[in-house]
């Protein structure tokens, strides 16, 4: 019985992990882009970006998942996205907004003197960003990012609202068969994944602890 349950939970975990990695893949670059938007010198662009970030961070992710999956059909009678895609889109948008604020914090924490020094040396803005700022940013945002990564692993449980069969869904389905423990057993898998992430982040932080 344990083997059968483990197998079916592992199948759920695959969906969970797929969502996790794909969200990171798309949300990290998008988040950087959004952070540029929210630091832009163009007031309208900055306003719109901050507005979007406000809406996305200010509403529950569960609601966003529902809107992205059912919204097109309910409002415009359009065909729906596949369930997993809809879940992914909502996660990418949501997490990109959170990431953008972390990136912004990281970028703005680099002293202005370094930009000025770069300018004096005749470097262009992109050169300053990629050669001087970015590395320091990465170093500084590791701890808040590890928070987000770990939260993301657990947030994937929300997608069962639109019937994406992730690990909690698989665990819960055993309740109907009279077995309660598989639902709680899912915790082991979350702990394993997050344990691994914690270790990786710890190593990464150590690697980055040069200059000092």
């Amino acid at each position: 019985m344990l083997a059968a349950v483990t197998l079916s939970l592992l199948r759920g975990l695959m969906t969970t992990l797929e969502l996790f990695f794909l969200t990171l893949l798309f949300a990290l670059p998008l988040g950087l882009l959004i952070s540029f938007g929210s630091m832009s010198r163009l007031t309208p662009l900055r306003g719109v970006t901050k507005g979007i970030v406000w809406v996305i961070r200010g509403t529950p992710l569960m609601l966003q998942i529902l809107v992205i999956f059912y919204g097109p059909g309910l409002l415009f009678g359009l065909p729906l996205l596949p369930r997993f895609t809809a879940a992914l889109v909502s996660f990418v948008i949501n997490y990109a907004c959170y990431f953008s604020e972390i990136f912004r914090g990281g970028i703005q924490s680099v002293p202005a003197g370094q930009y000025e020094a770069g300018q004096v040396l005749g470097m262009t803005r992109p050169q300053i960003f990629f050669r001087i700022t970015l590395l320091q940013v990465i170093k500084r945002i590791v701890p808040p990012m590890s928070n987000e990564f770990i939260t993301l692993v657990k947030d994937t449980a929300l997608v069962r609202i639109i019937s994406v069969y992730e690990i909690i869904w698989m665990g819960e389905s055993y309740i109907k068969k009279g077995m309660i423990w598989p639902l709680f057993y899912t915790a082991v898998f979350y702990l394993a994944v997050n344990g691994l992430l914690t270790l990786l982040f710890g190593r990464f932080e150590k690697k980055l602890s040069y200059f000092r």
Binding site: L42, T43, P44, G47, V48, L66, F69, Y70, P72, G73, L74, L75, F76, G77, L78, P79, L80, R83, R160, I161, I162, S163, Y165, S173, I175, K176, K177, G178, M179, I180
Partner: protein, 264 residues
């Protein structure tokens, strides 16, 4: 700077109105049956609910409802696809065409009949009070229920019965969760379908210490289609024919629900 803002606002407005136009063009609908046949699959929204819909060892959906849904799809000349849905979202799932019908031992409540095109009822059911066997003797009529702490599936027919009796309850996502409340002792009793109680509690099941006492009402099961869909009619014709041919009763007997089938 002001002009830039104005242009931005105009562009936003334009995009929104374009979206609205696109929506209107889509509005007129051909018959739902034609839509299903063109698409080639009937997508059936279900939940894991023995003996109506459940999976066998190979992961194939079987059960009285599942088997009949397969036969119905065949009569339309299309393939069948089962999707386990979140029961709370069944109306949205239908409206957005994520599924084509809800066929899962669904009680024809007023909420269901106003939000969906429903078939004629095909199966009888009732809501019963489930309680642990050692307490059952004291709770054999409706009046005795007042002192119990109840659980019921959120928005289900059972929850409705409790509300009309003026009894409070803990709302759970599924009937199985409500049973779990009772089994764990978090609630004294729960109200679930008679069919489900018959299949899930008592000796030889995972809940040997539970039993059911009072039946609070009697109700009918039906299949739900999109509002305005002509599939409900196609279903009624199919069902009458299947009943006359004996398929309905044969399938029902295989899953032990023949007593509840409505005569056609």
């Amino acid at each position: 700077m002001k002009r830039k803002l104005l242009i931005l606002a105009l562009m936003l407005g334009l995009t929104l109105s374009l979206c609205a136009c696109a929506a209107k063009d889509k509005a007129p609908q051909d018959g739902d049956t034609a839509y299903i046949q063109e698409k080639g699959t009937l997508v059936v929204g279900i939940t894991d609910f023995a003996p109506m819909d459940y999976q066998n060892e190979n992961g194939e959906w079987i059960g009285f409802d599942a088997d009949m849904a397969k036969a119905f799809a065949e009569s339309l000349g299309v393939k069948v696809e089962f999707i386990e849905i979140n029961w709370d979202n069944k109306i949205m799932e239908l409206e957005t065409k994520a599924i084509d019908c809800v066929w899962n031992g669904m009680t024809l409540t007023e909420e269901v009949t106003t939000a969906m095109a429903t078939s004629e009822p095909y199966c009888l059911n009732g809501q019963v009070v489930v309680i642990s066997s050692d307490k059952a003797a004291d709770y054999q009529d409706t009046d005795s229920l007042k002192t119990l702490r109840f659980a019921a599936e959120n928005g289900s027919a059972g929850a409705g019965e409790l509300e009309s009796l003026g009894l409070e309850y803990v709302a759970k996502p599924t009937q199985a969760d409500a049973l779990l409340e009772v089994a764990s002792g978090a609630s004294d009793a729960c109200v679930i379908d008679l069919l489900m109680a018959g299949a899930m509690i008592g000796e030889g099941t995972s809940y040997p210490d539970l039993t059911y006492t009072v039946q609070l009402n009697s109700e009918e099961y039906g299949v739900g289609f999109r509002k305005g869909s002509n599939l409900a009619e196609a279903f009624n014709t199919f069902w009458k024919k299947a009943y006359d041919e004996g398929t309905v009763l044969k399938t029902a007997t295989a899953y032990g629900v023949q007593e509840s089938i409505i005569e056609k």
